[in-house]
Amino acid sequence: MGAMAVSRTEVAHPIMPAAPNIWRRLERRPGIARLGVVILLLLIWEIAARYFLDRDFISPPSVVVMSLDKLFGTPGVPSALWLTLYEVAAAFVLSVIAGAGIGLAVGLNRFAHQSFMPIVLLLYGIPQITILPIFVLVFGVGVASKIAFGVSHGMFPIMISVTAGVQKIEPVLFVSARSMGANRWQLFRFVIFPHMIPSFFTGMRLGMSGVLLGVLLAELYVSTAGIGYFTSIFTQNFDATKLMGLVSMLAAIAIALNEIVRRAELHYARSRD
């Protein structure tokens, strides 16, 4: 209240003419302005690519969109996209199992936490891209290495979030449940599980990003039938249109998957605390 309620514009410009009405209305709708910015950028891309730049290197968005059917018509591309989806899904499921499992084990046991958490954090800090060649050496150039590398990226955030979530449970809840005669399974189902859900979903959101990153890195590194293979081919053939189309499709998949986990997180985080 008082002096600090001074509006910003009034301080900056003591004498300010009344702003024209349309500007004020726009000020209230940043969403529209944002849309405008995106459209503007697309227009710049379109015009620059169409009239000024080399078609071998950049393709205008209109061409990319219209050639999507040709992209999907290219033999192997649709199955490569499905393959990527499969790799991500498999890696994600495995990450959740491994991450939640280890996270619970380490989180629930004080001694395990003290001993192994530093190791977990140390491993999490390693730049995993450096060991990608090892993964390929061990798991081969096929689907297995992509899934493995995805799991390697995805399980740590889940592990760490679950551990943190379990640690937050107040000990008094354990004590009171035990005093009422709860056995191990009941303890898990009624005390541990409900309380770790928000952290679990946060971990899943981070885990999904990790899995996506891991699978994509592995694909781009070496791929015989996946999207990495096709990005190589399109790059070598200077097929900018198909390359941009493929990248857009992958970006769309990534956005969709991220949105799903994000929404899930919001929903489950809200209905708890």
């Binding site: 910015v37 995106v38 061990v138 994509l216 390359l243």
Partner: protein, 257 residues
């Protein structure tokens, strides 16, 4: 949660022992695997060989040309990201409206795995340092611009008002009020930007390059020189850890200048 102080120290010692034991067992398994159990040397090199290779690499300075390439790409990428990120971030932060328009947009783009841009950059700029610098700059840009917006945008309005009332002009306002207030947040963003730039440079060297540390590891893998590859991997991990530590130290030092 330990009410008994003595138990904590005892437990701490035990956990420390546990960790050492864990690592020791791993090393033991590794040695056994390569000697007695006969795991292919191409798959898993003998730990002693790896050690010898590591010593050789470091002492001979064989890593230097690749290190130069990687560091050069990193420097260029970070410099670009920092100048673009801070200036754009500052400009956007000047208006509440601009912040509401651009901040969500930038945050949304940052959520996509930007590694996807690598093939596009390789198509545009080839396999040389250019594409690495471009990707590194792109990835590094986002945490920097977002933290700059947050830093300058969240300066306590009261401080700005007080400075204005004392007659501060725009330059003085920036230098004496906005910048010191925003600095901690911006520095955190710069540190994050540096880390992702480094990781991205190494990643893109691994995937599509003909020089640099990342590429060298791949090169050794393709030549099945697994022992030396392991040595290089250890070396690169050490370099990354070292650089990150230096940057952290730097951040703390600037904060207290």
């Amino acid at each position: 949660m330990n009410s008994d102080g003595r138990a904590t120290t005892q437990q701490r010692l035990l956990s420390r022992l546990m960790q050492i034991a864990f690592i020791a067992v791993l090393l033991l398994l590794w040695s056994l695997a390569t000697t007695v159990w006969g795991v292919s040397r191409i798959l898993l090199p003998n730990p002693l060989n790896v050690w010898h290779q590591l010593v050789e690499v470091v002492s001979s300075g064989a890593f230097i040309p690749d290190l130069k390439v990687t560091l050069g790409e990193l420097t260029a990428a970070f410099a670009i990201a920092m100048s673009l990120g801070v200036s754009l971030g500052y400009s956007i932060s000047r208006s509440r409206f601009l912040i509401k328009v651009f901040e969500p947009l930038l945050a949304a783009i940052y959520a996509i795995p930007i590694i996807l841009f690598l093939p596009l950059y390789v198509l545009l700029l080839g396999l040389g340092p250019g594409s690495k610098i471009a990707l590194g700059a792109t990835i590094s840009f986002f945490p920097i611009v977002l933290s700059t917006i947050a830093g300058f945008g969240n300066v306590d309005r009261r401080l700005v008002i007080v400075a204005r009332s004392m007659g501060a002009n725009d330059l003085q306002m920036f230098r004496h009020v906005l910048l010191p207030a925003a600095l901690p947040v911006i520095l955190a963003g710069l540190r994050m930007g540096f880390t992702v730039a480094l990781l991205s440079v190494i990643a893109s060297e691994t995937i599509a390059s003909f020089a640099g540390l990342g590429h060298h590891i791949v090169d050794l893998a393709e030549n099945m020189d697994t022992a030396r590859m392991f040595a290089y991997i250890v070396f690169v991990i050490a370099i990354v850890a070292f650089l990150n530590a230096v940057v952290s130290r730097l951040e703390r030092w600037v904060r207290w200048r």
